[in-house]
């Protein structure tokens, strides 16, 4: 096992402590091997090997709701728009449906609300009285190519505004040029800027060219102290895929085998149906175990997904009537 000093945990750290910053280890990155065909075969066959039906499906979908980082990242975001989103985060599923499932008293909310820096303050205000964290995308999102000092300042500003989670983006050029030391140094600096806020590192998997790069970038981020590794900004031409997810969660598993620390995973972009999200849940359960089905270690970056889940839950509660979007409050 690598010798790593644990850091003090905060209230939302996973069991076993928050992933600390470790020393840079080039070997660990260079020896990563990913066979693309084998990875794709695994994710192509997994949906045929696992399924959940009836109340099991309902429960899994409720769990998925709890893991959603309900997101708006648009140029036309306003405090009013964010307010509506936060209201949806507080009550993501109609109360009558929750009650029908016997979980009306569980305080089901989404995992977080995810916004640009400018919307952090309105979001924090709108979520006051809940334990729902606000996540801010940061560090020159989505390309991550603004000057490093500015990127660090941006984190500090968002943390100061009340963001408890920071979704940073990698400078993909460092990955594409094989400069993992630079990846590590930047992420480590981001981690330090975060303080007690959790660091979610977006590797921009769709920009990285190969699954091997996806795996190596993931490893470098975990070394530098990432609390979560995240697939995509949602702005790449290819966003989250099951193959990216598989490769990244296997790195999380390897990291755990090596250090004992648990790092979370967040697929983002393009996950819009219940079928999609359950496949990601199957990957999490099969490759990492039940701990990674919980919001402490699993988040789903999504916006329209929630409506599809609600419709599915409505279908379950109504005993088989297919539902329609307009019957569920919009976020």
């Amino acid at each position: 096992m690598l010798k790593i000093q644990p850091v003090p945990s905060n209230d939302h750290a996973p069991e076993g402590g928050r992933n600390p910053v470790a020393a840079f280890d080039a070997d660990l990155i260079e020896t990563v091997r990913v066979n693309r065909s084998a990875a794709e075969r695994r994710v192509a066959t997994l949906p045929g090997r696992r399924t959940v039906k009836k109340q099991w499906q309902a429960a899994w979908l409720v769990k998925a709701v709890q893991c959603i980082d309900l997101t708006t990242l648009a140029g036309d975001d306003t405090p009013g728009r964010v307010h509506r989103l936060c209201a949806k985060a507080r009550q993501p599923v109609r109360q009558d449906l929750l009650e029908a499932m016997g979980i009306g008293d569980r305080g089901i909310t989404t995992g977080a609300v995810c916004v640009y820096h400018a919307m952090v303050e309105p979001a924090v205000a709108a979520l006051k009285g809940t334990n729902i964290p606000v996540a801010a995308v940061s560090t020159g999102f989505p390309a991550g190519l603004s000057p490093l000092p500015l990127r660090i300042k941006e984190i500090e500003a968002s943390v100061a505004a009340g963001a408890r989670e920071i979704d940073i983006v990698l400078n993909r050029s460092h990955v594409l040029t094989g400069n993992y030391r630079a990846v590590y140094d930047e992420v480590r600096a981001f981690r330090e800027a975060c303080g007690s806020a959790h660091l979610k590192t977006i590797i921009g998997a769709g920009d990285l060219g190969t699954l091997t790069n996806v795996a190596r970038a993931s490893m470098a981020c975990m070394m530098a102290g990432a609390d979560f590794i995240k697939t995509s900004t949602g702005k790449e031409s290819v966003n989250a895929t099951l193959a990216f997810a598989l490769v990244m969660v296997r790195m999380i598993r390897t990291w755990r085998e090596l250090t004992g620390f648990k790092v979370g995973f967040k697929p983002a972009g393009g996950i819009s149906t219940t079928k999609d999200v359950m496949n990601y849940q199957f990957v999490m359960k099969e490759e990492l175990g039940n701990d990674w089905l919980e919001p402490g270690l699993f988040r789903i970056g999504a916006s329209s997904l929630l409506t599809d889940i609600e419709r599915q839950l409505d279908h379950f509660v109504s005993g088989g009537r297919y539902s329609s979007a307009h019957r569920h409050p919009m976020g």
């Binding site: 990913v34 066979n35 065909s37 084998a38 075969r41 066959t45 090997r49 109340q55 499932m101 569980r106």
Partner: protein, 783 residues
């Protein structure tokens, strides 16, 4: 009822059963009792036996126990239908095969559920693998039927094929057997396993639905005795068998000397090789597909794990962790990974071998989750085993993986080949050099690089060594159901009658013909010689009286000359051209020798020498041209069908055309990289012994061609019994004796075909096919 709140805590999968109702309805429709399918009709049998669902122990239906009269009737029906079926032509047959493919798809779920209930394998596999692949086989072979006349213009169907399929892939292997047989214009009598006959009976209904002409497909059910009746039936032209090596051996014995064509797809103990530079997580998943697919009841299961020592512990730790998430249970549940073992007998046999392994010192690992009671067996990993362990040697045919380590690529090859079997192998490495270096070194018919248990109708499947012979699937598989058109009866290739008075030996100085072993002239071990006389009785010369020890020495020399297999085609061609050149320089002398032995006329003898020279040119030409194929299975990647030499081939030459037949046989074998032990014509051996001087002057490496004279059939039997000889070609009268002698190690034989040596059929691809075996190397890729 489990509440949503509870599940939110446990995050279990919950049950997801596939309904058995449609199958129950289908069984009820048949009153849970099935007849035989003969001549397009359902024929009642006198006796029945019960078929069970192994997962529940419940009886599913009674199936017929065919009598030998029933088998006879089925063969008669197939025989009657065959000429008509052949006559409608490839394009006509393609329509039927296409219709069958479509019907399998239309009834795909019924097939899948039925197969799961009858066999115990998970619905995930029957639904996603067995049934789609069965349909794919009929589609693919509808294509071969369509192209038959243009792609196989010199071939014709064999006639009636008897096909015996096992219980592990009842429908899929049925498709592997029936599709190519029908495409080629044969008719079939098929016997499914008594454990799993139901999908074959549903298939028979589909044949009716497809309006397949009556008698083209006949299905007879029952125990092994029924298979025996098929194997021994005198009016069957071909036997295709998939099953245990033990039964395969019996079939080989029963068909010896009968002239029945035979393909055997038998057992295996296939290696699963993981190099240190492999994607270990990917390889762990590969191991799951290798040994826990179909409860490990797979002939090509990757049951011997070989991991490079540097990563062995890490890999095994990952594997054990993965085993914990395998779900054993109800095969009809969509979330089941490992279903029921086919029968309690099979389960007991698996358990006995595992217990024996543990008693011999193996360390046993099974996941913590409880395995259901009844006909189930947990995924099992045995470590601390060695090559000598029983569980490493024996095929377990269950969900049991044995693990060993290796140090170098060379050792990986050695351990991989340290088995009597040779069906399949998996090689995991991210280094193309390492993977593609090992693939040809493993003696197996299929090698999967960075994948495992991939099957496709376009890619041949079949084994080396005691895993059997013949290929199923692809172009190579079509030849298992075809024969060359121009096969003439033996009598049609006469020994040239004497036309001139016999001529006495011409050598003024006595030249003593010796044996030729390992590149050296060798005196026979026994110290005896035999006199060779002309047709008129005149003494022509002496040859050594070879015995079994000479054969032993010759085979040893041939085995040592293994590097010939790795020589380039260009290099082999050069030596064959050189042989031709040197023979050409001695045309007159060889013609004279032929005349003195056979009494042939000068012109005929000279013609034989000249044809022999031409033949050497032909195989020199072929040496660098008998290319393999690149198959295109449905994946991102290729399957390389490589033509590999068989190894050491024993060749017994006929008496006719003593120089030409000799040349026509050893040259193609040697051109393809084999080493040969040749027994020349017993009556007229001197042209062959003269030839070793040609070999010596032509730079033929020692041991590649070995010549042993003496009692041909006795020596041929020694070759057929020799376990270091991979194939025997026998062109003499007693094929039964040779084929029986070859049973022990399931040796390939090519016997009894009379060939017009001087004609166009005296050379060409048919010879090269016998001189090679096809290895399919699957290489999925992706940056």
């Amino acid at each position: 009822m489990t509440s949503v709140a509870t599940i939110l805590e446990s995050m279990e999968y919950g049950p997801a059963p596939e309904s058995s109702a449609p199958v129950e309805t289908w069984l009820d429709k048949h009153n849970r009792s099935f007849d035989l399918f003969i001549g397009g009709e359902w024929v009642a049998a006198e006796a029945h036996l019960d078929s069970f669902n192994p997962a529940t122990g419940k009886k599913l239906a009674a199936i017929s126990h065919a009598s030998s009269a029933d088998v006879d009737a089925a063969v008669k029906a197939a025989r009657a239908a065959q000429p008509v079926w052949a006559k409608i032509g490839g394009a006509g047959r393609a329509r039927y095969l296409y219709a069958i493919a479509r019907l399998i798809q239309k009834h795909s779920r019924l097939f899948a559920v039925l197969e799961t209930m009858d066999n115990g394998k998970p619905i995930r596999e029957t639904r996603d693998i067995d049934v789609p692949l069965a349909a794919r086989h009929f589609y693919h072979h509808a294509g071969w039927a369509q192209l038959l006349e243009s792609e196989f213009p010199d071939h014709q169907p064999l006639g009636v094929a008897g096909q015996i399929v096992p219980w592990n892939f009842p429908l899929l292997i049925l498709a592997w057997k029936i599709a190519p047989a029908l495409a080629a214009g044969n008719t079939v009598v098929l016997k499914p396993s008594k454990e799993t006959s139901l999908s074959a009976l549903l298939f028979a209904e589909i044949c009716v639905e497809a309006r397949l002409p009556k008698g083209v497909v006949n299905i007879v059910t029952g125990p092994g005795k029924v298979g025996d009746a098929i194997v021994r039936h005198p009016d069957i032209d071909k036997i295709a068998f998939t099953g245990s090596t033990e039964v395969g051996r019996g079939i080989r014995m029963a068909t010896a000397g009968t002239g029945k064509k035979l393909t055997l797809e038998l057992g295996g103990k296939s290696p699963f090789v993981v190099f240190e530079d492999a994607d270990l997580d990917g390889a762990v998943e590969g191991a799951v597909d290798a040994i826990w697919f179909n409860q490990g009841q797979v002939c090509c299961a990757g049951s011997r794990l070989l991991v490079q020592e540097s990563v062995a512990e890490r890999f095994l730790a990952k594997l054990r962790a993965r085993m914990e998430t395998l779900r054993v249970g109800d095969p009809l549940d969509k979330v089941t990974d490992i279903g029921a073992i086919v029968s309690m007998t099979q389960r007991a046999s698996i358990d006995a071998l595992v217990k024996r392994g543990v008693a011999e010192g193996a360390e046993l690992f099974q996941p913590k989750a409880k395995c259901p009671n009844g006909c189930f067996y947990p995924p099992t990993l045995l470590t601390n085993v060695e090559s000598a362990s029983t569980v490493v040697q024996e095929e377990i045919f269950g969900p049991v993986l044995v693990a060993m380590s290796f140090r170098t690529p060379a050792e990986a090859a050695q351990l991989s080949n340290n088995t009597r079997y040779g069906l399949a192998a998996s090689v995991w490495s991210e280094n193309i050099n390492v993977a593609l270096d090992l693939a040809p070194k493993i003696k197996a018919g299929v090698v999967w690089v960075n994948c495992t248990n991939q099957f496709d109708a376009a890619v041949g499947f079949g084994g080396y060594r005691e895993s059997g012979f013949g290929r199923e699937g692809g172009r190579e598989g079509m030849f298992a159901y075809l024969k060359p058109k121009a096969v003439k009866p033996h009598a049609a290739a006469p020994v040239t009658p004497p036309q001139e008075p016999a001529i006495a030996a011409i050598d003024s100085v006595d030249r003593t013909a010796k044996l030729y072993i390992g590149g050296k002239q060798a005196r026979p071990d026994g110290g005896y010689s035999r006199a060779i006389v002309s047709p008129s009785g005149a003494f022509v010369g002496h040859v050594g009286e070879g015995n079994r020890k000479d054969i032993r020495n010759a085979v040893e020399a041939a085995a040592k000359a293994e590097s010939w297999a790795n020589a380039t085609g260009h290099a082999r061609a050069q030596i064959l051209y050189y042989c031709a050149e040197n023979l050409s320089a001695r045309t007159a002398e060889f013609a004279q020798r032929l005349r003195s032995m056979t009494g042939a006329g000068k012109a005929a003898a000279t013609r034989e020498v000249e044809t022999s020279i031409r033949r050497l040119f032909t195989y020199a030409a072929w040496a660098d041209k008998y290319d393999g194929l690149v198959h295109n299975p449905p994946l991102r990647g290729v399957a390389l069908a490589m033509n590999e030499p068989v190894g050491v081939i024993g060749i017994a030459c006929p008496d006719e055309a003593p120089l030409l037949a000799f040349t026509s046989l050893w040259a193609p074998a040697v051109a393809m990289g084999n080493r040969v032990v040749v027994l020349p014509s017993e009556k007229h051996p001197l042209a062959a012994t003269d030839f070793y001087q040609v070999l010596e002057t032509s730079d033929m490496p020692g041991g590649v061609v070995n010549i042993v004279t003496g009692p041909r059939d006795v020596l041929a039997q020694v070759l057929a019994e020799h376990r270091g000889v991979e194939a025997v070609w026998y062109f003499g009268p007693d094929r039964k004796r040779i084929e029986e002698a070859a049973v022990d190690d399931i040796k390939q034989t090519w016997t009894g075909e009379a060939i017009d040596w001087a004609g166009t059929v005296g050379e060409g691809r048919e010879f090269l096919r016998h001189a090679t075996q096809v290895k399919n190397v699957w290489i999925p890729y992706g940056a």
